[in-house]
C-alpha cells in the first residue's frame, strides 16, 4: 500500500506544481512507482511541466463521471519505464466538478498500485484544497522565504491541524536566494521552521534552470549537477527514510583580494 502526500501551500506561485513534478521524478529515479495527481482543475499545469500535455486523452473528471476507467486516464511518462504516471486534471471545468468523497475514492484506488501518490493541490483554501487533502495521508507544505508565503503557509498548517491527516506534515522552503538570506533581507530557514512549528523536509534554492527545464517539459532533478535538483533529490531521499544533512547554502564570502580586484573591474 502506497502513501499519499498532498503538496500544498495556500499561496499561489510558490512552486507547488514544480515541487510535485520534481519530487515525483526524484522518487521515480530512485526506482519507486509514483503517481502524480493534478487536482488543479481548470488551471492544470503539472502535465506541461512534465512535458506530457499532448498525451492527455481522459482526465480525472472523466473518471469521476464514468466516461473513462482510471487506468485509461493515467498518462505514462515514457522516460521512466512503468514508474511515473500522471492523472491529469480537467481543463474545461472548475474545482467544483469534484467533491471530497470522489477525490478520496480516486486516491484510495491508486494507493495499492503505487509506492507514492503525490497530489498537486491548487492555490487557495476552497473546494480544490478540500478535495486535495481529502485523500492524503500526509502533507508537504511548500513556502518561500517571503512573509506573504509564510503567512499563507501558517494558515494552511492551522487548517491541517483542524483536519488532521494520518501523519505529521512537513515543510519545504523553496526558491531560496542564498545571498539575500545571508544579508538578512529575508527570513532564514530556522526562523521559518520555528515560526511554522512544522518539521523541515528540505530546502530548494532559486535557480534559473528550474524555469528553463520546466519550459522544456523536463523536471530539473534530471540535471545531476543542478543545486535545485539536488534539493529535490534530498527531499525524495528523506521521504524514503534516509538521513540526509541539509544542503549548505552559505555563499562563499569574497576574499580580501577578490574584493580589491572587484574595485578595478569595469561595469
Amino acid at each position: 500500500m502506497g502513501k499519499s502526500i498532498v503538496i500544498t501551500s495556500g499561496k499561489g506561485g510558490v512552486g507547488k506544481t514544480t515541487s510535485s513534478a520534481n519530487i515525483g521524478t526524484a522518487l521515480a529515479l530512485m526506482g519507486k512507482r509514483v503517481c502524480l495527481v493534478d487536482l488543479d482543475i481548470g488551471l492544470r499545469n503539472l502535465d506541461v511541466v512534465l512535458g506530457l500535455d499532448n498525451r492527455i486523452i481522459y482526465d480525472i473528471v472523466d473518471v469521476v463521471a464514468g466516461r473513462a476507467k482510471l487506468a485509461q486516464a493515467l498518462v505514462k511518462d515514457k522516460r521512466f519505464d512503468d514508474l511515473l504516471y500522471l492523472l491529469p486534471a480537467a481543463q474545461n471545468t472548475d474545482k467544483t466538478a469534484l467533491n471530497e468523497d470522489e477525490a478520496r475514492a480516486i486516491i484510495d484506488e491508486l494507493k495499492p498500485d503505487f509506492d507514492y501518490v503525490l497530489i498537486d493541490c491548487p492555490a487557495g483554501i476552497e473546494q480544490g484544497f478540500m478535495n486535495a487533502i481529502a485523500g492524503a495521508d500526509t502533507a508537504i507544505i511548500v513556502t518561500t522565504p517571503e512573509i506573504s508565503a509564510v503567512r499563507d503557509a501558517d494558515r494552511v498548517v492551522g487548517l491541517l491541524e483542524k483536519n488532521p491527516l494520518q501523519e505529521e506534515s512537513h515543510i519545504v522552503i523553496n526558491r531560496i536566494r542564498p545571498h539575500m538570506m545571508d544579508e538578512g533581507d529575508v527570513m532564514d530557514i530556522d526562523e521559518i521552521t520555528h515560526h511554522l512549528g512544522v518539521p523541515l523536509l528540505g530546502i530548494v534554492v532559486d535557480d534559473d534552470e528550474v524555469i528553463a527545464t520546466s519550459n522544456h517539459g523536463e523536471p530539473v532533478v534530471l540535471k545531476t549537477d543542478n543545486p535545485a535538483g539536488r534539493g529535490y533529490r534530498d527531499i525524495a531521499r528523506r521521504l524514503e527514510g534516509e538521513t540526509v544533512p541539509l544542503m549548505n547554502i552559505q555563499t562563499a564570502k569574497p576574499s580580501f583580494w577578490s574584493k580589491v580586484a572587484s574595485w578595478f573591474k569595469r561595469g
Binding site: 481548470g42 500535455d53 499532448n54 498525451r55 486523452i57 481543463q91 474545461n92
Partner: protein, 220 residues
C-alpha cells in the same frame, strides 16, 4: 374531394391524404376505402401502401392511428408514411450537415468548440484548446491544441492543414499524439484514417487516392 384517394403507379399503391381534410374525416375516409377494397381484392394478395400526407406533417400519434386502422384489415399494411414537408428543426439539421461552417475565433486553453458538419477554421487553437466537429476540418490558422474530425465515430473524415504544432489529431475514435518533429510544417498535410484504423498523414496532391468520396461530394 375525398379525404383519402387510392393511387397506383409503377412504384406500387399509394394512399394520398387530402392535406386540408379534417383528421377525423381522413380516418373515416380510410375505413370506407379499405372496406371497399377488401370486398374487391383477392384475399391471397397482400398490398402494402405508401401513405402520402402532402404538405401536412402528421404527429406520431396520428401515424399510429392510421397504422392501427390499416392493421385491422388482413390484406393491407402500411409501407411508409411520407410528407412533402419537414420541421424547421430537421431542416436546420440537414443544413448544418451540408454546409461548410466558417470559424474565425481563437480557441484558448481549456476551451472546447463543438461543431456539426464541415468546418473551415481561420482562427488559432492554442495549447489546451479543442476543436471538435462531426465532419471534415479544413484548417488555415495555427493549430497548437487538439483537433477532432468525424466526432464521435466517423472515420471517413479528413483534417487538412498544418498539424505539426498540434498536440493531438483525432478522427472518429482514433487518436494520434503528435510528437515533436513528427510532421513537417506544411499547410497541405492531410490526416486520415487508413484501412488499419490508424491516423495517417498524406499530402494534398494524394487526396484523390486518399478519399475519392470527397471529390464525389464536391462534384469534381
Amino acid at each position: 374531394m375525398q379525404a383519402v384517394v387510392l393511387r397506383g403507379n409503377q412504384d406500387g399503391y399509394q394512399l394520398a391524404i387530402d392535406q386540408s381534410a379534417d383528421f377525423e374525416a381522413v380516418k373515416t375516409g380510410l375505413r370506407e376505402l379499405l372496406d371497399n377494397l377488401s370486398a374487391d381484392a383477392e384475399a391471397t394478395v397482400k398490398i402494402s401502401f405508401d401513405v402520402l400526407t402532402g404538405d401536412r406533417l402528421l404527429s406520431a400519434d396520428q401515424n399510429r392511428q392510421l397504422e392501427a386502422i390499416v392493421s385491422e384489415y388482413a390484406g393491407f399494411s402500411i409501407h411508409k408514411i411520407t410528407a412533402n414537408v419537414m420541421t424547421i428543426e430537421e431542416a436546420f439539421y440537414l443544413k448544418e450537415q451540408d454546409n461548410v461552417h466558417l470559424l474565425t475565433q481563437t480557441i484558448r486553453n481549456g476551451q472546447r468548440v463543438e461543431m456539426k458538419g464541415d468546418v473551415l477554421f481561420l482562427g488559432t487553437i492554442n495549447e489546451g484548446g479543442n476543436l471538435t466537429t462531426s465532419g471534415n476540418l479544413y484548417l488555415l490558422g495555427d493549430v497548437m491544441g487538439v483537433v477532432h474530425a468525424g466526432a464521435p465515430s466517423f472515420e471517413d473524415k479528413l483534417i487538412i492543414g498544418d498539424l505539426h504544432q498540434a498536440q493531438q489529431v483525432r478522427i472518429g475514435e482514433q487518436i494520434n499524439i503528435i510528437e515533436a518533429d513528427q510532421l513537417a510544417a506544411d499547410h497541405k498535410t492531410v490526416a486520415y484514417v487508413n484501412d488499419l484504423h490508424t491516423v495517417t498523414y498524406g499530402h494534398l496532391h494524394e487526396l484523390k487516392e486518399i478519399n475519392p468520396k470527397l471529390y464525389h461530394q464536391i462534384g469534381g
